[in-house]
């Protein structure tokens, strides 16, 4: 069991300090932004904390895909911090978070999202975050009772408070009236009357509050911050575990699951085919470590191979790579296969007709 009990010793309370200090979990979404604002407006010193788990939708995908680059590339958590005028501390938890994803005590939500364990972990980390001497007096989240089926239920919200070690130093300003008064309320650091009683999935109260604060431009929608809630992504992660015969992953694995078309023609290898220039560039960064295919007679994507290819596999892989190239209608396409440390081979193949590419090979649909 993860040790969450150091929290109580770290945060001493602001008895001798002028202003209480709170850590607000900032995801980049509207709810956490509003929650921080509600407390900030009461004179509390609020610091944003944002966790980098490796599964965040923020950043990477935007950076990789050309079509996303055309959109606003901003980091939503930073944008929120700037709107609020608070500092934002990033916490890189990629390694520690593995245990949460692989062994969630409370299980998964609809996909591979371990939301309850994840919240416990984040609240604990925020409370003891090493960004201020002595940590924070309390933690703020944008949770709302009844909003999410797993972590935001009236019966699971106390679990987060208890298991994180925060106990009554966890304040949910948007839904506080549905919960017992917390330490910051009892001590008078925040006025409970100025907190809210939002409940359920209806987003109207949040939208109205955002309006009241003049937040006309919204951050990302709620629940859109993590790939583990995405059914296709979860299917790819599960496929990776099945193929390797063990539930484990490295940082590069989870990055590659965000990119390209994933095809598994056989249990011992998978092809990752770039879908556009940005993805090809990203995949190119892995050429030194993975066998890869590139069509040479025609324009085409870069295809990485996760696994080892037999001679027969190599021909099929080349036909698949050809199928996604400009030569898909040609009789033959020349494909170059590079294996790290080996001499490149050129294969002349007939592109695989779409009908011969079973949908079951598409990992994650």
């Amino acid at each position: 069991m993860r040790n969450m009990d150091t929290a109580s010793t770290k945060a001493a309370g602001p008895a001798a300090k002028s202003r209480p200090k709170a850590a607000a979990l900032i995801s980049g979404g509207l709810d956490s932004m509003l929650a921080a604002k509600v407390v900030l407006d009461q004179g509390v010193e609020v610091h944003g904390v944002n966790f980098f788990t490796g599964f965040c939708v923020e950043g990477h995908t935007h950076a990789i895909r050309k079509k996303d680059q055309a959109k606003d590339k901003r980091n939503n958590a930073l944008w929120v911090a700037e709107q609020l005028g608070i500092p934002l501390h990033f916490v890189d938890v990629v390694d520690e978070y593995k245990d949460i994803v692989l062994n969630p005590k409370h299980g998964y939500g609809a996909n591979l999202n371990p939301c309850l364990d994840c919240k416990v972990f984040m609240v604990h980390k925020a409370l003891v975050a090493d960004v201020l001497d002595g940590g924070f007096d309390f933690v703020i989240t944008g949770e709302v009772v009844g909003q999410r089926p797993m972590s935001q239920r009236i019966d699971t919200m106390p679990v987060i408070a208890r298991e994180s070690g925060a106990d009554d130093r966890l304040l949910r300003p948007l839904t506080a009236h549905n919960l017992s008064p917390t330490l910051p309320e009892r001590r008078g650091w925040v006025d409970r009357a100025k907190l809210h009683g939002f409940r359920g999935r209806d987003r109207k109260p949040q939208i109205a509050l955002a309006h009241r604060y003049g937040f006309t431009e919204h951050a990302q929608p709620a629940g859109g911050c993590c790939f583990l809630t995405d059914a296709k992504y979860a299917a790819k992660l599960q496929d990776l575990w099945n193929a390797r015969g063990q539930r484990d992953y490295e940082f590069d694995d989870i990055m590659l699951l965000k990119v390209g078309r994933h095809l598994r023609p056989a249990p011992h290898y998978k092809l990752i085919v770039g879908r556009e220039e940005g993805e090809n560039n990203f995949l190119a960064g892995y050429r030194g470590r993975f066998p890869h295919l590139r069509t040479v007679s025609h324009e085409g994507p870069l295809t990485l191979v996760d696994g080892e290819l037999t001679t027969e596999d190599a021909l099929l892989a080349a036909r698949i790579a050809a199928r996604y190239s400009q030569g898909r209608a040609a009789d033959t396409v020349t494909v170059r296969l590079n294996r790290p440390g080996a001499v490149a081979e050129e294969l002349r193949v007939a592109p695989l007709p779409p009908m011969e590419l079973p949908t079951a090979w598409h990992v994650g649909g």
């Binding site: 002028s18 950043g59 980091n75 958590a77 990033f90």
Partner: protein, 89 residues
């Protein structure tokens, strides 16, 4: 001639990792120290200036250098309380 500053190489990293590495590097530096950052992710053009603004550090310059992006930052140590007081005043 510009003063020599330590360089953080964040090339090849995708956002928000360059900002996380920058944050970690700045944590070890004193007020007034200079730091250069090299990056390749175009997202840093947005994120590094935003991070500097949020923390009160000065972004002295940012420019393209061949295929890289180079940023020059001056570390400013100012407590949140001081900043809030300034905002209020």
């Amino acid at each position: 001639m510009t003063e020599l500053a330590p360089t953080l190489d964040a090339r090849g990293l995708l956002c928000p990792l360059p900002v996380i590495r920058l944050q970690d590097a700045v944590r070890t530096l004193a007020d007034g120290a200079l730091l250069e950052v090299l990056a390749t992710d175009p997202g840093t053009l947005h994120d590094i200036p935003a991070w500097c603004r949020v923390h009160g550090h000065s972004l002295l310059e940012s420019h393209h250098e061949n295929k890289d992006l180079r940023f020059r930052i001056a570390v400013r140590r100012q407590s949140q309380a001081q900043r809030s007081a300034k905002d209020a005043g």
